[in-house]
């Protein structure tokens, strides 16, 4: 591999320029998502919209901390709506923003695929947070592949400072190239706190709506004209990135060179500080010339990128011998150790001497439904009636595992009802078919399939678990809570009326804390021929406010160690250390007990009581 001449862009250059571009007034430790929010505000964005989704949730929550007169921040009913709102703002001539997690982009993709044809008026940046390692998602798809499909540029910051800076840069690119821009974050970046120099908000002049039907209305004739423009834009962006300071060549030893992007860059620097590194801040379209030059300057080219071999394949396409996924996994999250062992495998670093010290068998501590969670009893009841349960996305997905084990499928936001309809339509299912869906998820994507179920006369039961919040992501408001992102009162969706309006004849509200009644209600619902909907109306005990009742107690003398209460999977209940006929008795942690009474209702020996009783 021929060695390239010295790089055109040096870290030194970029640093000087950045110092001129914005005046640093303060340094603060910010989490990646906080830095993104800061960047959105500083960039003069007027409208920001999102649907909560780990690890992206905190972005909009933090945007909402900035003054309302500066920026409109709102929870949208789903990611597509969020993007459409942002697109509308762009049309109207303001900088606009949308945030979502990787799977949220799937929902929003329909709008994105058109918007990429249309381009922007006010700048439009979409932050998409990927979740390598699947900390809290249903998959670990790589957004860069999506960007390639949509032919929109992707910027990838590697720390919080870059997160802030890249947002602002993103708007410049968006407006300069007439394109939406995706800024890709990952869980690690979003949730890492580091020092960030923050700046002031730069207000953007209002452009106003620009009437241009050929640009703004995507009908076939317009689209046909737009597509070549898109290809041309891609080319121009590639050229731009060849020289942009977003991509940085850090010269070092020439035996090998590492091309990396995003958070992986920090791992690389951690374990191979003296290597030659090409850090790509723009991972689509790739700066092919820059890459070629870099590859030519080193003996071996190693690509270190989380998830898909996007860079690696490009390098290979460019005709270089490259090592990437042969050393580093295509799945999971990277870490300094992963990078080190990959480089060691390549023979570039000495293998770390492993001196196993004390290595205890780790305790399984999977996430569980909280003590007092109203979903618990709903799933106990489902399990009892032996239902075929199509689950959905939310806390309640945890009911799929021990001890509740009451969910049989879980696909994507809002899928449960459609899945249930399909199960019914096969005629194969002998058990009652129930779709369970949370309030927020229902609004997100459950309403069209419910209409479908009614329209197509499915015989299913929908259990709408209305806990009055978006619990899984930490308690965000939504259209069904009566409060907006800024905590102000707004209209609340009346689920019962809505469902009736859809044409559901059997709708009943039930309190899942009342075990017997709930069970009965579920039985009635499943016996009904047609679509039946139960609205389990019981708020989350943690969000938006902690609802803690008096803690229940176990009367040790009455406990017979049957551990029926353990079926709740309640984290407040554990073994007391006492035995009854060889079976472990239980105790309740007063600190953790929320006083929901479910254990007391379940206990066959009446051993669980409120302490006030004598």
């Amino acid at each position: 591999m021929a060695k390239a001449s010295s790089p055109q862009v040096t870290p030194q250059d970029s640093k000087d320029k950045s110092n001129k571009a914005s005046v640093a007034i303060e340094v603060k430790p910010l989490m990646g998502n906080e830095a993104i929010a800061r960047g959105v505000w500083e960039a003069g964005v007027r409208v920001a919209s999102a649907y909560p989704g780990t690890p992206s949730t905190e972005i909009l929550e933090n945007v909402a901390h900035y003054p309302e007169q500066d920026i409109e921040a709102e929870w949208a009913t789903n990611e597509k709506v969020a993007l459409d709102v942002a697109i509308g703002a762009s049309f109207a001539g303001e900088r606009a923003f949308a945030a979502m997690k990787h799977v949220g982009l799937n929902v929003a993709s329909d709008a994105l695929m058109s918007m990429t044809y249309i381009g922007v008026n006010g700048g439009l940046v979409i932050v998409v947070c990927d979740d390598p390692g699947i900390h809290s998602s249903q998959n670990e798809q790589d957004t860069r592949l999506f960007a390639r499909l949509a032919m929109v540029p992707v910027l990838e910051p590697s720390d919080a400072q870059e997160a802030l800076d890249f947002i602002k840069h993103g708007y410049e690119i968006s407006e300069q190239f007439d394109t939406p821009v995706i800024v890709r974050s990952t869980t690690r970046l979003s949730h890492t706190r580091s020092l960030v120099r923050i700046g002031e908000r730069i207000s953007q002049p209002t452009k106003g709506f620009v009437d241009n039907i050929a640009k703004n209305v995507m009908i076939p004739s317009h689209a046909r004209i737009s597509h070549p423009r898109l290809i041309e834009r891609e080319q121009k962006l590639g050229d731009y990135f060849n020289t942009s300071e977003l991509n940085r060549w850090e010269p070092g030893k020439t035996e090998y060179g590492i091309i990396t992007c995003g958070i992986s860059y920090s791992y690389v620097k951690e374990v191979a500080e003296d290597a030659s590194v090409l850090k790509l801040g723009a991972s689509y379209p790739l700066a092919e010339d820059l890459i070629s030059k870099f590859c030519e300057s080193v003996d071996r080219v190693i690509v270190i990128e989380e998830l898909e071999p996007v860079i690696e394949e490009t390098v290979r396409k460019l005709g270089f011998k490259v090592e990437g996924k042969s050393l580093f996994s295509r799945e999971g999250e990277f870490s300094p150790s992963v990078v080190r062992s990959g480089l060691a495998q390549a023979g570039l670093l000495p293998a770390s001497e492993s001196t196993p010290g004390l290595a205890p068998q780790p305790l399984a501590r999977p996430p569980v439904l909280c003590s007092g969670c109203p979903h618990t009893s709903a799933y106990m009841a489902l399990r009892s009636i032996d239902a075929r349960v199509a689950g959905d996305i939310g806390c309640y997905t945890l009911a799929a595992i021990e001890p509740l084990k009451a969910i049989h499928t879980c696909v994507a936001m809002g899928s449960s009802i459609g899945n249930a309809v399909g199960m019914y339509k096969t005629g194969n299912e002998t058990r009652p078919i129930v779709a369970t869906i949370g309030d927020s998820t229902f609004i997100h994507g459950g309403i069209p399939p419910l209409i479908d179920a009614v329209y197509n006369q499915a015989n299913i039961t929908v259990l709408l678990l209305d806990n009055h919040t978006t619990a899984m992501t930490g308690g965000q408001d939504h259209a069904g809570t009566g409060k907006n992102l800024r905590g102000k009162k707004t209209e609340r969706v009346d689920f019962e009326s809505l469902i009736k309006a859809i044409g559901v004849k059997w709708v009943r509200k039930a309190d899942s804390y009342n075990l017997g009644n709930f069970y009965k209600c579920l039985q009635d619902a499943t016996r009904y021929k047609g679509v039946s909907v139960i609205i389990s109306d019981r708020p989350c005990v943690l969000d938006p406010v902690k609802i803690k009742g008096k803690a229940f107690e176990v009367r040790a003398e009455s406990c017979v160690g049957c551990q029926s209460c353990m079926n709740l999977g309640c984290p407040a209940i554990s073994w007391s250390g006492e035995l009854h006929d060889g079976h472990n008795k239980v105790k309740i942690s007063a600190l953790d007990c929320m006083g929901c009474s479910l254990c007391a209702q379940t206990c066959p020996s009446d051993a669980i009581h409120l302490p006030s009783e004598t």
Binding site: Y519, K520, S597
Partner: protein, 277 residues
């Protein structure tokens, strides 16, 4: 009375096996209550030969026949009267009455209050399934308001007895209530009731699944058993701010206990005093 070395409870030691399966309907709570009773008897080490089970008429009345003891299936509403005679004549016998809500509170209501008042050492186990199951599900003094029975086709409009309060008010020395779902607790309650020297009134929340449950669409047996707890426990509800859940205010457990003089003892005392004079 407790003997630590005794064998584990084996129900077949206490039943007339050749009569099984018993006549009760699938899911009938009376069977569960019967087990709890026999379990308590076992734990108290009561000699079967000295055990007298007196029952009335109705589904509850038939329970006694399956118990391997001295069993007396008497007339409708009157088992307490038979038991009174039996216990007075034979203080050495452990006399336990099994009765139902209609048997005990309607036709036998008079006997109940006077048995409570006298406080003779009898244990009265009232199996409350809220209906006259054997006669086809008519309204009883404990039928929940608005529920349907064959004699309340428009739903029950009569007020309901709280049998335990009634018994306590009438002077029973020991009053308790339990649900069949909580079998170990029920056993323990029965055990305490039998051990109590004086009249013990024990209400068991039982289920008539086939007749009453069907008529009122209360679900299958498991669901009816499950409902007992949430429907009947006042304390199953913690102080939740965003309240919706308000179960029926009926208490379980030992509800009343007093050391009023036991009838036979008081009688003997009085006689002795007189003879001394």
């Amino acid at each position: 009375m407790l003997n630590k070395t005794k064998a584990a409870f084996e129900i077949r030691d206490y039943i007339r096996e050749d009569l099984f399966p018993h006549f009760m309907c699938p899911g009938c709570g009376h069977g569960i209550a019967m087990r709890a009773l026999l379990w308590a008897i076992h734990d108290l080490n009561i000699d079967k030969d000295k055990l007298a089970i007196v029952s009335g008429i109705g589904c509850s009345g038939r329970v006694g026949a399956y118990i391997d003891a001295n069993t007396f299936h008497t007339t409708h509403g009157r088992p307490l009267t038979f038991a009174t005679g039996l216990k007075l004549a034979r203080p050495d016998l452990q006399v336990i009455v099994i009765t139902g809500d209609g048997d005990c509170l309607a036709i036998g209501g008079n006997h109940l209050i006077h048995a409570c008042r006298r406080n003779l050492d009898i244990t009265c186990l009232m199996l409350n399934n809220e209906t006259y199951g054997m006669t086809g599900g008519q309204v009883s003094p404990t039928t929940t308001r608005d529920r349907y029975t064959t004699t309340t086709p428009e739903g029950n409009y009569e007020p309901v007895f709280d049998a335990c309060e009634l018994a306590q008010g009438a002077g029973a020395g020991f009053v308790g209530r339990e649900i069949t779902l909580q079998t170990p607790s029920l056993k323990s309650l029965i055990q305490q009731g039998i051990a109590h020297p004086g009249f013990s009134f024990l209400e068991v929340i039982s289920d008539c699944t086939e007749v009453y449950g069907r008529k009122n669409d209360l679900g299958e047996s498991p669901q009816m058993v499950l409902s007992q707890k949430s429907e009947f426990r006042s304390d199953s509800y913690g102080m939740i701010a965003d309240e919706v859940f308000q179960p029926r205010n009926v208490k379980t457990g030992v509800l009343h206990k007093s050391d009023r003089p036991e009838y036979a003892e008081a009688y003997q005392q009085r006689i002795t005093d007189r003879v001394k004079k």
